[in-house]
Every structure is written in structure tokens, then in C-alpha cells.
Symmetry: D2
Subunit: 134 residues, 4 copies
């Protein structure tokens, strides 16, 4: 399962070095994985109505080249089918104009309920819905 | 009722112009009014446990001089006793090193309950608690 | 001169009240006025290459109704031709699904050069380019 | 080289899940390493006046427990002396009230000059200044 999102660098996302502040890539990754889930008819909002949440338990980013204000950025995200316990997304950020790779990232998520407990069954159900496997 | 908060400009708060991004002053104002209310033993968290919220219904800022990374900023806030319907805070942001005025702002707040309805009685109660008047 | 931008609420833009944090509307306004200027073939980046900047000197927002995560928001912005000394933009934010008005705002900008001095001539030139008047 | 920073969770840093948005920990880490460098008389600003920058080339965070609005957070950071090519900082975030571990992180930095090229000599000089070794 792969998806692509295009976004434009906001002025607010730049810093005094003239480039995008590093923490903002994690926000971009979040936008991209939300779009990916929506594409496969699983919206965050829908899950939240069931009181299921997919918090980030691990996040990593390697920065290759800086992004600048007003540039269009392609975020590619991929959901990986691994164990029943968590979800892994990987990401690549490219500048659209010259297809330069800007960053690579990864986030790990668990599915939790309202009480904060990990929902193994819900995780399995979501994966089934997404990957069409039982 | 007046209070003062000192904070240091975060790198994340700067933009490609090399100065603090204008919207961040509203976050600083929020920090300052929270400190002010805490000083008068009324914490946001306490109110939220009662399901009372003080959302911003109006916000204004006039920018006089830019703030830069790593500078220490003094935020002065003042709560104004006006009508029973809302709260008004005014703010001044100063650079600590040379006491240069950076910005002046104002926010207006109403007290709402969980259902989003305006709580006139709660507003009155909070004001009584803060100003010691009935 | 009017323009419209559609954006989707990011999770990062929400706060613990479950709605969009008030300061983020100013970021949305910035996105919208940039789009408007781009539409009239005047990009921020272009201006920055000439070392012209349009910093915000005043910003105001009135909040009517809260925006929530994942909602699509329409930002309408309008540039007003007033004096030669500054630019005024006004904004309206609507929820796309039910066309509910969420907020109204205004920002005032001056054109400054690299040294931070106000460029009256540049302001006039930009206005001429935008409005086609001399 | 170790240091400690205490900060209070800002409302702006929370999200609709009622907890601190994950990307904000990276901003906290930045504040903490800046404090650490300042303590050892090496301020970011000083370096920037020499046109030396320490951009993040890698960033990782493992989230253990959520932080909430208004909580005081202790960020412990440590600078590691490794090769001449880069700097590694590790971080721990604790809730002050109950000393619960909230997150652990790591960032890697290189020293670059104005043209974006990696300054091996400057890296070595900074390390010498910090660690007192040649």
C-alpha cells in the first residue's frame, strides 16, 4: 500500500537558516499517512468515532537536502504489513521541481482505545480491512 | 491584574526572514495569560476539569520590531474587568536585553461549557474569584 | 483582487480542546495571500530574490465557529488598494462541507528592504503591477 | 557533557488526542541541546555569527507515555564525543511531577558553512572547545 501527497512549503515551516525546520517533516509524514489511509477508505476521523487511535510510538527521519519556502514537496508513504501488534509507515520526501530526495522517514504506530490500552484485535481488524487478508 | 512571563525564542519559532514568525506571538500571549491566571490560583487545567473553557473569540497583534532567535522576551499581560460576558487580556512583548517594545496585542475570551454554550454564570464566578468582587 | 484556497486541517493544528488552535488561522491566512499574489504573478519568492519583504505589521482574527481535524477549509482572501504605504488583506475562513463561516481576519503589510527600511517606491510598484494602475 | 532543561507544555503543543503532538518533542530536544551548548559557552547565535550551522541530519524519538497540557517536563540532553564528522545528542523527557519517562530521542548533527558544505575543521574545533581535548 503506497500513496503520494503533494504539499507546498509554508512560510511558517521555515526557520532562520532559511530552510524547513526539521520537526515539520513529521507533520508532513502525518498528512501523507492520513491521505494513504483515506485512499483505502479508512479515515482517522472514522477511527476516532470508534475511539480508536493510532499514536506514534517511534519516529525517525534522515535529512538529505533542505527544503525551502514555496517549494512543492512530494511525500510518498507506504504502509507495511508486519506483525499484528503495530503498523509501520515509511516515507520519502522529494522536491517536485527536480525530484531531489530531501528526507526519508519511518513511524511506528499501535492502535489504542479510549483508556490508552493497546487494542490487538482492532489492529488486526484494521490490517484485514486494509490488506484484505485474514 | 497584571503578570509577566519571560521566555526565550525557539529556533522553531523563527522563519526564513530570520525573525519570529508573526503567528507565534499569539502562542506567547497564551502562555502569559495562563501564567497570570495561575498566579491568581486559577489554572486552565482546573477549569478544564470542570469542563469550562476560555476560547479566544478575537485576537489582535501590532508588530513594532522583530524578535530574533535566542533572545529573551518579556511578555506582560493584563486582565481587564469589563462586562460579565467576556474576558479581555492585553499584552506587551519586550526584548529583555534593551527593553525594546516588540509587539502589543489583545485577546477576548468567553467561558464555554462542554456543549460549546457560553456560560455567563461561570464567567461571573471566575471574575469574582479573580477580582474578589461580587 | 480576490482568491480562494482550500486546505485540510492537519492533526498538528488541533489542540486539546479538539479544535484548531487559534493562532493557526494566521498561518492559513498567509497561505491564502501567497496564493493570491501568485495568481497575480507576484510570488513571495520572486520578491525575496529582490530582497523585498512584506512583513505583517498588524493581524486580527475574529473566531465564529471552531474547525476540527480533517475538515476541508476554504480561505478567501482579498487585497485592498488603499494608500501607498501599506497593503491590507482581509480573509474569511469557511468550512467546505456546510459553508459555515469559521473566522474573519485582516492583516496589514509594509514592503521593506534588506536593511529593514520601508520601501515606499517598491510598495507603489507592486501595487501598480497588481492593480494595473499608475 | 550533560544538561537539563525544564519547560511547561504549551496549549499550542497539544493535539485533539489531548496530548502533546509527537513532532513537538523534537523542538524540545532543540531547546535542550541549545541550553547545553550555552552552558558550555557555545551559543548557536555565536556560531551563526561565524556562519557555522549545526543542522540535524538524523532525528529519532521513542514515545513511552504521553505528556499533557500544563505539565512540567524535564529534558535531559547529553552530547557524545564520537568521530570528528558529526555530533550526537541523546535526550530523555520526564514528567517532573512523578518522574515518569515520556520519551527518549537522539539527533545527529554536522557543522556546515554558509555554502552548505560540511566543515570538518570547525567540527573538530567545536569539539575541542567543548570537551577540552585536542
Amino acid at each position: 500500500m503506497k500513496g503520494q501527497t503533494i504539499l507546498r512549503v509554508r512560510y511558517e515551516e521555515t526557520d532562520a537558516m532559511g530552510v524547513v525546520y526539521h520537526a515539520n517533516y513529521f507533520t508532513w509524514f502525518e498528512i501523507s499517512r492520513t491521505e494513504l489511509l483515506r485512499k483505502y477508505s479508512l479515515s482517522y476521523k472514522e477511527m476516532e468515532s470508534k475511539k480508536w487511535y493510532l499514536p506514534v510510538v517511534e519516529a525517525t527521519c534522515c535529512y538529505k537536502s533542505p527544503a525551502r519556502y514555496d517549494e512543492e514537496i512530494i511525500i510518498e508513504s507506504e504502509l507495511h504489513f508486519s506483525t499484528d501488534l503495530y503498523f509501520d509507515f515509511t516515507y520519502e520526501a522529494w522536491r517536485k521541481s527536480d525530484h531531489k530526495l530531501l528526507a526519508e522517514g519511518r513511524t511506528r504506530h499501535v492502535c489504542i482505545g479510549e483508556n490508552g490500552r493497546i487494542l490487538t484485535k482492532a489492529t488486526r481488524n484494521i490490517k484485514k480491512q486494509l490488506f484484505g487478508v485474514s
